[in-house]
């Protein structure tokens, strides 16, 4: 494939541009939530994340202090102060008193509100409101203003989701589910794969065909009977039906066909001479498996481990059916789904939670991509 099919400069340039566009489409969405998760939560809704390095401007409403704060000066009644209170100053560009015209007056000018009432609002938030008559009422004047705030990045969102929204706990739950659900099927599948590849026994061919058939059986087929079974077992023994043990075994069952298939095709390809010379030396099948086959199969074991890890970590369906949709033991994906329902518009929570859920798979993926690709190729090109 080293043949250059397009030789002109223009066509080579076109290839670079085209790939660049593809790369952009495939990375920008993820970048969006990463950037947003680090932004101040008020700024997330004030401007698009692609503008996050520019000052964001937003129109806000505030209320001046009530009449009780007024002072009388030279026969005029005056209210003065800073609309931001003691908080961080932002830069006001314009203000108004009607919601229909929130930016009627430029900052720093004095607005005539009728009946001799004047209001001046400066860029830094200080205001002076004057009137020939005393102000009345418990509620101060409503003021609208457009302000711009400098870009603000923070890790507050992470602190919030990890410790108050329950994502931290779900993170631990995900690990608790994922690690055993990755290790157990490897062990069981490796023994079965060795037997199916190198031991002779009746029914072997049928067993292989059954496993290949089971490769594509939709998960949906198993859900209802297993849910009934788990509920039945739970009632019979008086134990909870939604347990970690239950979900480990479920993931083991669903992962086994692929595990056996992948491992068997690799183990069957190991050189026959090694096995035979070991057998002549008096090694039993168990010794051959543990001392020769397992070490030689490391690459394929790693491939499957990554697959299973990503699959279990990213799974929502099995987790929702066998661990439930609420409670202390739910995993990250289920938690994120619950947050989508309860915190629908709170993008600072959603983007941050989403990033926490995808960070582990991304690290695994980037550090072990070689094994992942190898497993992908072995798993699909050879017939599955």
């Amino acid at each position: 494939m080293a043949v250059a099919t397009g030789k002109s400069f223009a066509s080579r340039f076109g290839v670079h541009i085209a790939v660049l566009i593809f790369v952009a489409i495939w990375t920008v969405p993820t970048l969006g939530i990463l950037v947003s998760s680090l932004r101040d939560k008020d700024q997330i809704i004030a401007s698009g994340w692609w503008n996050s390095f520019a000052s964001s401007s937003q129109t806000e409403a505030g209320r001046l202090p009530p009449a009780s704060a007024q002072v009388e000066k030279d026969g005029k009644f005056v209210l003065a102060g800073n609309i931001f209170g003691e908080g961080a100053a932002r830069n006001i560009s314009a203000f108004g008193v009607k919601s229909a015209a929130p930016t009627q007056y430029p900052a720093g000018t004095t607005a005539d509100l009728g009946d001799g009432v004047t209001l001046q609002l400066n860029a830094d938030g200080t205001f002076v409101m004057g009137s020939p008559k005393a102000f009345e009422g418990d509620r101060g004047q409503r003021v609208y203003y457009a302000s711009s705030a400098p870009p603000k990045f923070t890790t507050d969102n992470y602190r919030t989701v990890l410790f108050s929204e329950g994502i931290g706990r779900s993170f631990m739950n995900s690990l608790t589910v994922t690690i055993p659900a990755t290790v157990i099927p490897i062990l069981i599948a490796a023994f079965a794969a060795y037997a199916l590849a190198w031991m002779r026994f009746p029914g072997r061919a049928l067993l292989i065909a059954v496993i290949i058939g089971l490769l594509v059986v939709p998960l949906q087929m198993s859900l209802i009977p297993l849910l009934k079974l788990y509920n039945g077992v739970g009632t019979f023994f008086g134990v909870p039906s939604k347990t970690y043990l239950g979900i480990w075994l479920a993931h083991t069952g669903f992962g086994l066909p692929f595990a056996i298939y992948l491992l068997r095709s690799y183990i069957a390809g190991l050189p026959r001479e090694i096995m035979e010379s070991a057998r002549i030396d008096g090694a039993s099948d168990f010794e051959i498996f543990v001392k020769i086959v397992l070490p030689l199969s490391f690459p394929v074991l790693a491939s499957f481990a990554i697959f299973q890890f990503l699959w279990v970590w990213n799974d929502l369906l099995v987790a929702m059916v066998f661990l439930g949709t609420e409670g202390d033991q739910i995993v990250l994906t289920a938690k994120l789904n619950a947050l989508l329902g309860s915190r629908g518009g709170d993008w600072e929570i959603l983007t941050t939670s989403a990033f926490v859920t995808i960070i582990v798979p991304l690290i695994v993926f980037f550090s072990l991509q070689r094994y992942f690709v190898r497993g992908l190729l072995a798993g699909s090109v050879k017939g599955g």
Binding site: F22, G32, W50, T176, I179, Q220, A354, T357, L362, L376
Partner: protein, 337 residues
């Protein structure tokens, strides 16, 4: 938290240790019951033969038991349940199937699934192939491939949040924080609530799956393209074929088998698509699909297992042709080894 970590580690050790203990112990037991060392002549040969008969079953035993409980028994049971009423109490014949084909939501799901099946595998395979060919020609192709491959590691729920943020809608004239509506507004268009547009919302959900799966197609096809003998390409160049002819007439025909594998793999995935629909729309605005409808019926109003099982069976029926084809291919390849 610490207690949870400890109990997790403890249980991991028990679980994994239990597996190891089983395989080691069972093997030892066979050696003790049928000793082959230290026994003379015919007895040793006899025992060796017995060991050879028993040991394979010890090795495949746990796998067979788990596969039977978690996959084989459920397939039979789901089929049985699909002919029973909601609680699994009484036999109702084909009533659940009759209900399904008369149900508006079910028919909508079937229709949507067909659209998904027509669009997603084709789009993933096509885009994957294009990207594989293009990235092969440039020096930073490996990096580009890595980045396009990356969404494959992201969960469907995570991807749904990512894209929901892109589709986010604010009223016309307001600041759009969703990328898609911002672009549309920038060019003077009308912002839309993309995921509630009937029929078209399906495509906005499909984009998510295409975004995830294109990397898969790309990696597999890229490796297949590398396997094309260079002489065929060189010959085509010498004969004066243009790049498009080389692509369609030389490269694509040589990797048909791989394209079929990629296509069927993604097809099976599409039939099972659930998370994306659940998190984006939960089937509202006519975007329902079979897998989500099934999940819905499992729990709706206390759960209707008869209807849920019926929907699962219909998904299964769609998969069977691919299953048969797979088994045939595998039999051809292994040829009895």
């Amino acid at each position: 938290m610490a207690a949870q970590i400890f109990s997790a580690i403890f249980v991991i050790i028990i679980g994994v240790g239990g597996c190891v203990a089983y395989f080691w112990g069972a093997n030892k037991l066979v050696d003790i019951i049928f000793p082959s060392r230290g026994v003379q002549g015919a007895a040793a040969i006899d025992n060796l033969r017995r060991q050879g008969m028993i040991r394979p079953w010890l090795f495949v035993g746990p796998a067979m038991i788990i596969l039977t409980i978690y996959l084989i028994y459920p397939v039979v049971e789901t089929l049985r349940l699909s002919f029973l009423d909601r609680g699994g109490g009484s036999f109702v014949g084909f009533a659940n199937y009759e209900w399904a084909f008369g149900d508006r939501e079910f028919r909508n799901s079937i229709l949507n699934n067909i659209v998904w099946l027509a669009v997603v595998p084709a789009a993933c395979t096509f885009l994957g192939l294009i990207i594989a060919v293009l990235t092969d020609k440039i020096w930073w192709g490996t990096i580009a491939k890595s980045l396009i491959f990356l969404p494959l590691a992201i969960s469907f729920v995570g991807a749904s949040v990512i894209w929901k943020f892109i589709y986010e809608y604010r009223g016309e004239g307001q600041v759009q924080i969703g990328l898609l509506n911002a672009i549309i507004q920038y060019f003077g268009g009308q912002p839309q609530v993309w995921i509630s547009l009937p029929f078209w919302n399906n495509f906005f959900l499909m984009i998510i799956l295409i975004w995830i799966q294109t990397g898969f197609a790309m990696v597999i096809l890229s490796s297949a393209l590398r396997g094309i003998p260079e002489e065929t390409l060189e010959a085509a160049v010498i004969d004066g074929a243009n790049p498009f002819q080389i692509f369609w007439k030389i490269m694509v025909p040589q990797i048909w088998g791989t394209i079929a594998v990629v296509w069927t793999t993604i097809t099976i995935l599409v039939l099972k698509v659930f998370d994306i629909v659940l998190t984006m729309t939960n089937g509202q605005w006519n975007s329902q699909v079979l897998a989500n409808l099934m999940f819905d019926w499992m729990f709706r109003g206390g759960g209707d297992f008869g209807r849920g099982a019926t929907i699962a069976i219909i998904i299964m029926i769609a998969v069977i042709p691919i299953m048969v084809w797979n088994i045939r291919q595998a039999n051809k390849e292994t040829g009895g080894h």
